[in-house]
């Protein structure tokens, strides 16, 4: 009797888990399924789970659309450069906050933590005026350069926490062997914090790849658009028939990099790293 109950309970649990998974993954499925339909099928009043005659026409067409391919290239280009600089500067600053004792460290660290309270949107207006003054409107510069100054206090905090857990003896013995701070940072500390670096890199990548507000503010001509901005132009509220297969094809191609990154980084993200922010 007890055994039967156990089986029923566990079957019920799996039922719930599967149901939740289907719900969570459904938009993704629908995106792919719709990208393989015709416009009529996406707007049909009947329920069509998967088109009976799937077509890849939308995929063939979208690669002919130079605005799309260019937006894709723009996104890859600016995200790569921004990611690289932001990650390295965050790693450098975290090193200063975790491995070196210098006067003023606590004050600076406190200041940095308090910037976490400032929403980025509170700063976009003056930054816009500033970048406008130095003629950076309609360039990628405003989307990339601020990151090079260790933008993202939460990420610095996360990385600092994991750097602090490395025993200090490592640095000290390296010093005795004649290494300098730069070598210790690059050759000892960074390799030992690979997991946290991967986490930070993933969060940064996702944030940059999905970012809409800043590109929207600074990029004005269609040849400079990033993917999210370009895709938002495909959908026009005042149009009665939307080209859904095209939009969903662009959507599938946009989410692929996210999925790939998530697949490789999930073991770092999903373990309790995220919580380190909560427990201090």
């Amino acid at each position: 009797m007890k055994q039967t109950w156990k089986i029923i309970r566990s079957a019920f649990l799996y039922l719930m888990l599967t149901f939740a998974t289907v719900v969570m993954a459904f938009p993704l499925f629908w995106m792919i399924s719709s990208s393989l339909k015709t416009v009529e099928e996406t707007n049909s009043a009947g329920l069509i789970w998967v088109s009976p005659h799937p077509t890849i026409q939308a995929y063939l067409d979208i690669f002919q659309n130079t605005n799309f391919t260019r937006a894709y290239f723009n996104s890859v280009f600016y995200v790569t450069l921004a990611l690289f600089g932001t990650l390295i500067s965050i790693a450098a600053v975290s090193y200063a906050f975790s491995r070196i004792d210098w006067p003023g460290k606590n004050i600076v660290f406190f200041l940095m933590l308090s910037t976490m309270m400032i929403p980025s949107q509170a700063l976009i207006v003056p930054q816009y005026v500033f970048f406008n003054k130095i003629d950076w409107i309609n360039t990628f510069n405003p989307l990339v350069i601020p990151g090079y100054f260790a933008g993202g206090a939460a990420m610095v905090f996360l990385l600092r926490q994991s750097m602090q857990q490395i025993p200090r003896e490592l640095d000290e013995s390296a010093f005795v062997d004649g290494a300098n701070h730069f070598q210790i940072w690059w050759e000892i500390i960074l390799p030992l914090t690979k997991g946290s670096l991967a986490t930070v890199a993933t969060f940064l990548f996702v944030g940059l790849w999905n970012s809409l507000l800043t590109p929207l503010m600074y990029l004005q001509t269609v040849d400079r658009y990033t993917l999210p901005v370009f895709i938002s132009t495909l959908y026009n509220v005042n149009q009665t028939v939307q080209p859904w297969p095209t939009i969903m094809t662009a959507a599938v191609l946009t989410t692929i990099p996210l999925m790939v990154v998530f697949f490789f980084a999930q073991r770092y993200i999903l373990d309790s790293v995220v919580v380190s922010g909560l427990k201090g």
């Binding site: 600089g85 200063a96 701070h181 507000l213 998530f262």
Partner: protein
């Protein structure tokens, strides 16, 4: 400089790296010099140098991208500055703030909508997150795959692409969600339940829209219309009564981050407590509410702050789903969307600066209030 944006970016990046290296070295050397003047030992001087060298990218960035902009925006918020006119800003005192707080109906709508998202959306999101975390905490086989699936929406997030997929799914007439809705409504008890849901949600939404507009005509209409007819479906992104609910749906779908936090909390609940309660004959439900939940309150508290701040800052869904679409914009407008509209669509920089200061103060107030209230109900016994 080159007009090719790619080359221009590469050059700027190189210049930035040189600038950061030079300024970091400069700050480090300055700090070391001060330490030497104060008579510090050479080994200490080296530490001072290294510390400031490594930390100065952030220090320099803080000055350039935070302190100076905030100073300017504080000043502009008291002026009528517009970036496209060549006129210098005129000092107008508190006029921007007075306008925003007492006369601006769009801003009031944004505040009320934020309240709606907080009061109705946030509890829903937390309940779903907690439910999913509790499911995962049963440590079923393949838990990892389920965890990935539940977290996936956070990664896809508010990407325009994903938002448009939701837009397609939420179409009132032909969208998959309403088609499924109609399909399950053929079963009478489900139909009554769903229609009751429609009724409650529409009355609530109409009430909030009434606060926005100052008249409750719509609310009266909704109540007069009475219980929804059998063929009624939600209007989702095409109806002012449902525009906010659609956003809440998106938020609830992306509850994976909160779920991870709850999961960590559940992991920290001592097993012995549960074992002891089980011996005493407590049911799983009782054990959850009497043991796990009180110990989870710090995590609830954390999610509450983060969630409230997020609903103040919501932008992408409003932009993608409702831009250029009166009256839907005003029924779903968020504070940050309004900031964007004023600053970058109408170029009223002074007004935008005032909005951003209000955002900042609001977030501070929310955080302070929550920290004040937390000791009334948050249980830190275990920590």
């Amino acid at each position: 400089m080159s007009t090719n944006p790619y080359i221009q970016l590469l050059i700027t990046v190189l210049l930035t790296i040189v600038f950061i290296a030079a300024s970091s070295y400069g700050i480090g050397a300055l700090a070391r010099w001060i330490a030497r003047l104060r008579g510090a030992k050479p080994s200490k001087q080296e530490k001072v140098f290294a510390g400031y060298l490594f930390a100065s990218p952030w220090i320099v960035g803080f000055l350039i991208f935070v302190v100076i902009p905030m100073g300017f925006s504080l000043y502009w918020s008291f002026t009528d500055y517009r970036v496209i006119s060549n006129e210098p800003p005129h000092w107008i005192g508190l006029a921007n703030y007075a306008n925003l707080l007492f006369h601006d109906s769009s801003f009031k709508a944004a505040l009320v909508n934020t309240l709606y998202l907080t009061v109705i959306g946030l509890p829903l999101e937390m309940a779903v997150a907690l439910f999913l975390a509790a499911l995962l905490n049963r440590k079923a086989k393949g838990e990892r795959i389920f965890r990935m699936a539940f977290y996936l929406p956070v990664i896809l997030g508010f990407n325009t692409a994903v938002l448009l997929a939701w837009r397609l799914m939420l179409n009132t007439g032909t969208g998959i969600i309403n088609q499924l809705w109609r399909a399950v409504s053929t079963f009478a008890p489900v139909s009554y339940l769903l229609r009751a849901g429609i009724y409650v949600q529409e009355v609530t939404a109409a009430f909030f829209l009434g606060i926005n507009n100052g008249t409750f005509n719509l609310l009266n209409k909704v109540i007069e219309a009475g219980f929804p007819a059998a063929n009624r479906v939600p209007g989702w992104v095409q109806s002012p009564l449902w525009s906010k609910m659609s956003v809440i749906l998106l938020i609830v779908w992306g509850c994976g981050q909160m779920m991870l936090i709850f999961l960590a909390g559940l992991n920290n609940v001592p097993k012995e407590l549960h074992e002891a309660a089980e011996v005493d004959g407590a049911s799983p439900m009782q054990r959850f509410w009497k043991i796990s939940f009180p110990l989870l309150t710090p995590y609830v508290f954390y999610n509450l702050i983060v969630g409230m701040i997020a609903s103040i800052q919501i932008f992408e869904p409003i932009f993608v789903l409702y831009r250029d679409n009166q009256p839907l914009v005003s029924s779903a407008i968020s504070i940050v969307y309004y900031l964007w509209q004023k600053s970058f669509s109408h170029f009223e920089i002074g007004y935008g600066a005032a909005i951003s200061w209000i955002i900042l103060v609001l977030i501070l107030i929310v955080t302070v209030i929550q920290f004040r209230l937390q000791n009334r109900w948050v249980n830190y016994d275990l920590y």
